[in-house]
């Protein structure tokens, strides 16, 4: 019996490429998609619509290494009264009533061996969106820049920042 290899070859070629697409989809879904947060907080709504400044919630960004994630009490300053019937605000109120913090998922993660100061960068006039992207337009917060060493060093060199190892690795 004569075997026709043509469909087999075609199926293998296209099958291989379909596998690559599936792999891309898997990587995107697992590692690259913006993480789900315990509360669907929209930066777009609060920055573009309401008009809050970044440091209204991230109060330490201009004075400390870490910008600070707002405590539930900061949210409740407004949401004790505003939009209290919305499902996400009901969830927030439950955290408040139970005296529990909201465990937000990490988005812009830097490993512990990196010493990064928000205060220093803001003092130098680096705008938040240089590292965090157009947060004011984001419904679901996501990482925009790689935040890897090469990216940091390139920016430091372009803007006259130090490229000494000790600057970031104390």
């Amino acid at each position: 019996m004569k075997i026709n290899f043509r469909p087999l070859l075609i199926a293998s070629y296209f099958g291989f490429l379909i596998l690559i697409i599936l792999l891309m989809g898997f990587i995107w879904k697992t590692y690259r998609e913006a993480p789900d947060q315990p509360i669907a907080f929209s930066h777009q709504k609060h920055v573009s619509y309401v008009g809050l400044e970044c440091n209204h919630c991230h109060q330490y960004a201009t004075v400390a290494l870490q910008p600070g994630i707002p405590a539930v009490s900061v949210c409740m300053e407004c949401h004790e009264n505003v939009a209290t019937d919305r499902p996400e605000i009901i969830k927030l109120t439950e955290y408040w009533n139970n005296k529990e913090p909201v465990l937000w998922a990490d988005v812009n993660y830097l490993p512990p061996h990196v010493h990064f100061s928000h205060k220093r960068h803001i003092q130098k006039g680096i705008d938040c969106n240089v590292c965090h992207g157009e947060v004011k337009n984001m419904e679901k917060i996501r990482q925009v820049k790689s935040l890897r060493m090469g990216w940091c060093v390139t920016c430091h060199r372009e803007n006259g920042g130090s490229d000494d190892c000790w600057t970031c690795h104390k």
């Binding site: 075609i10 296209f14 697409i21 891309m24 989809g25 995107w28 777009q44 008009g51």
Partner: protein, 430 residues
């Protein structure tokens, strides 16, 4: 660019959805036609030069058949080639309004070489029978202009898929060197050549049966060319497609995009199998199936690109919608203030106060916003200013968060303003 900015309409969500649908329709009309035109004119010019230099009549005839296959009518060239370009530019300037999409001017600049190229290709088509050197030169120049114009056109549209990089595109080199831009252009070229090869089989054999009864040597030559070119470029198309997919930014991805991509590859696999089968048996009877399936695959490629664009521009669309809401809230009260209104409708004012304002404001107590007794005195003699503020609030006191626009009807704003001032004067003023 300023011209396009000036003619943009108010971007309400319904309006944006409509123009985006229109954009997809324009691409579905324009790209298959232009792909076939570029493919057939590239090969036609090639065979025209080769036919004249080598005195090969078969090549010369094929050059004519190829260009007649697509550029058969001037009106079609204008309807499918030129008009969609202008509509596409208008729609892009609308959906990218205020987005600082730096590649938009390049998209518009690409129209000049494209339109010139189209004119030259049509001149080439109408003069090809003279078999002169100048005809080949006209065709070559037309093809080069089309290739260059579409390099910029495709690169610019591909760049819209990555809003985070818009600020880094400040010159044509930065526009073109991105892997996303180059990948999209190569995908466009390979799929266009594949469509042309399969189109040769469909248009010249199975549809019009133009070559079925002619010189057998010529028919065999055309058949072999169409099937070989179709097969090679159908095999190359998914490579560039996957390359383009890998280079898309994360925000362009969605489940639909992945599913459509897989569907596209399955369709291309079927086309490849049909072409290989026809090539093996040196026959063309499956030409219609191959062509129809390839056109569906081409449409899916366009839809896929539209899905990626929609995902990437999702946030910008939201921003435009919010802005249009704020604009509308501003326009309507301004008009109503001029007309005067129901500030004496206290019952309605009280209802609006309880429903909307009371969650953040009370008269004597700070809740989220300031107590009314602290802010109403300055509006006592100027109710129009209070109406204007409630209709379009701005941040006043740094100690409080800014008041969001409540999107109230102007009659509600007037009623609540009248109610607040009345209550203040009658009950809380000391």
């Amino acid at each position: 660019m300023q011209f396009f900015d000036q003619i943009t309409l108010l971007s309400t969500p319904a309006h944006l959805a409509l123009v985006k649908l229109l954009l997809i329709i324009m691409f579905l009309l324009h790209l298959p036609y232009i792909g076939m035109l570029i493919g057939s004119s590239v090969f036609s010019v090639w065979f025209n030069i080769s036919g004249r230099r080598n005195k090969n009549p078969m090549h010369a005839t094929f050059a004519r058949d190829l260009i007649d296959m697509v550029a058969f009518n001037k009106s079609i060239g204008i309807i499918l080639g030129v008009l969609p370009l202008l509509v596409i530019a208008l729609i892009y300037s609308q959906i990218l309004h205020k987005g600082n999409a730096t590649s938009l001017p390049y998209l518009i600049n690409s129209f000049l070489p494209i339109i010139l190229g189209l004119i030259l290709v049509y001149i080439y088509k109408y003069t090809i029978r003279f078999e002169k050197e100048i005809v080949s030169l006209t065709g070559t120049l037309g093809v080069l202009l089309l290739l260059a114009g579409y390099l910029v056109f495709i690169a610019s549209t591909a760049r819209f898929h990555d809003p985070e990089k818009w600020t880094f595109i400040n010159n044509p080199v930065q526009l073109l060197i991105g892997t996303n831009a180059i990948g999209s252009y190569l995908l466009f070229l390979t799929s266009s050549f594949a469509m042309t090869g399969i189109g040769v089989i469909f248009f010249l054999f199975t549809w019009s049966k133009k070559l079925s009864d002619t010189d057998r040597d010529y028919a065999a030559f055309v058949k072999k060319f169409g099937l070989t070119i179709g097969l090679i470029f159908t095999l190359a198309t998914p490579l560039f497609f996957v390359f383009g997919l890998i280079n898309l930014p994360d925000i362009a991805y969605s489940n639909t995009l992945i599913i459509m991509s897989i569907l596209l590859l399955i369709l291309l696999a079927v086309v490849t199998n049909l072409l290989a089968k026809m090539l093996q048996g040196a026959q063309t009877r499956l030409g219609t199936q191959a062509f129809v399936i390839f056109i569906i695959a081409f449409f899916i490629m366009i839809l896929n690109s539209s899905i990626a664009r929609e995902n990437s521009l999702h946030e910008h669309t939201k921003y435009l919608a919010l802005e249009s809401e704020a604009m509308l809230a501003k326009i309507i009260p301004e008009r109503a203030i001029e007309e005067g209104g129901g500030i004496m409708d206290y019952a309605r004012g009280e209802s609006v106060f309880k429903r909307v304002c009371a969650s953040c404001h009370q008269f004597e107590k700070k809740i989220v916003g300031p107590p009314y007794v602290a802010v109403l005195p300055k509006y006592e003699n100027d109710i129009q200013q209070l109406i204007a503020f409630i209709a379009n609030p701005k941040k006043v006191n740094p100690d409080y968060p800014p008041m969001p626009n409540q999107g109230l009807k102007i009659t509600d704003v007037e009623a609540v303003s009248g109610y607040l001032l009345k209550m203040y004067q009658e009950e809380y003023k000391k």
